[in-house]
């Protein structure tokens, strides 16, 4: 049963995979880099 649990755990990776997530993630990434740049 443990092995089955581990297998189902691995099957849940990657945690999220969608175009929308990539867009949001990169948007947030760029925003933060912009703040850092402006602060500099």
């Amino acid at each position: 049963s443990l092995l089955r649990q581990v297998s189902s755990l691995l099957r849940r990776l990657p945690a999220i995979e969608s175009v929308k997530f990539q867009d949001d993630f990169l948007m947030e990434y760029n925003d933060t880099l912009l703040i850092t740049y402006l602060a500099m």
Partner: protein, 312 residues
């Protein structure tokens, strides 16, 4: 001995009430020890208020020059910076609560009040100072605690300050520089005018053996919260507010600088120093905001590598 602090010695407390050592020395109280329970209750209550200031009372006792805060309870009022002495609405509640407590065997008296400053730091405003002075006049020993729930989330540690006011007209000795904190432009006036009327006490925490056990259990789950939280997401509004405040301060500094540039050869070195310190403060604020943002981004990138890079 971890739990000995929880024992309430009624005789000793009444003795302290009679001696009133604080009446001789305005700086008598120097330390505050807050129990884990009281801290949690105050922070949870402050966060529940969102952007509205909330307030409550603290129960506890005196130990030498220290306040020992054992417990806290919310008052059914919303303290706001424009409301004078909001707790007046709750006097009846306070009296009833204290009496019921004593009947239930909780002997600690009310030793102070706490309220929240969501997003603008831990200090006493003009209204807070007058409320605290009133309390110190009639309800000694009385402590004022301020909590900033918004900064608590963004800084990842509890933003809390404990204060006592000086008597009317008292000229305090030169203050040791307290930890720097950003004061929003729309509050700077209020902060500046009254900051000499009170002083900060040193805050430490304590917990019982049961608290240790419970917090250890919670600690086992704490790593889940750390991995699944996004400071960048949770604090968007607050960061936006901070950046807009920063922009206003920059504009103000720029205007002043441009004025002085006209007569730059006239400006006194003192004035120049002052402007530099103002711009230096703004730089510091922007540094703080940026570092928190970069920390938030780092955690997002680590999470992305940890949870999104493994493919079937």
């Amino acid at each position: 001995d971890l739990d000995s602090i929880y024992v309430y010695d009624e005789a000793a407390q009444s003795q302290v009430q009679q001696d009133r050592p604080w009446s001789q020395d305005p700086n008598y109280f120097k330390r505050v020890k807050v129990s884990a329970l009281a801290l949690l209750k105050m922070v949870v209550h402050a966060r529940s208020g969102g952007t509205i200031e909330v307030m409550g009372l603290m129960q506890g006792k005196i130990d030498g020059d220290a306040f020992i805060v054992m417990d806290a309870f919310a008052l059914p009022v919303e303290g706001t910076e424009t409301r004078v002495n909001a707790q007046a609405d709750a006097y009846e509640y306070m009296v009833e609560y204290s009496q019921t407590n004593k009947q239930a065997g909780r002997l600690e008296n009310v030793v102070g009040w706490y309220h929240s400053h969501p997003g603008y730091g831990c200090w006493l405003s003009g209204i807070d100072v007058s409320t605290q002075m009133l309390n110190q006049q009639y309800q000694e020993p009385f402590l004022a605690i301020v909590i900033d729930p918004t900064r608590t989330v963004s800084a990842g540690k509890v933003e809390i300050g404990a204060f006592r006011t000086y008597p009317e007209g008292h000229i305090p000795p030169d203050e040791p520089v307290s930890e720097y904190q950003t004061i929003p432009l729309n509050k700077i006036e209020d902060f500046g005018v009254h900051c000499k009327q009170y002083y900060a006490l040193d805050v430490t925490y304590f917990k019982s053996s049961l608290d240790c056990h419970l917090l250890d259990l919670l600690w086992n789950k704490y790593w889940v919260n750390t991995l699944s939280s996004s400071p960048l997401l949770a604090n968007r509004d607050y960061v936006a507010g901070q950046i807009s405040d920063l922009a206003e301060k920059l504009e103000q500094a720029e205007n002043q600088l441009s004025h002085s540039r006209m007569g730059s050869f006239l400006v006194a070195p003192q004035r120049k120093k002052e402007e530099e310190s103002q711009v230096a403060k703004i730089t510091r604020d922007s540094l703080k905001i940026t570092i928190e943002q970069v920390h938030g981004l780092m955690s997002q990138v680590i999470k992305d590598i940890l949870f999104n890079s493994v493919h079937q």
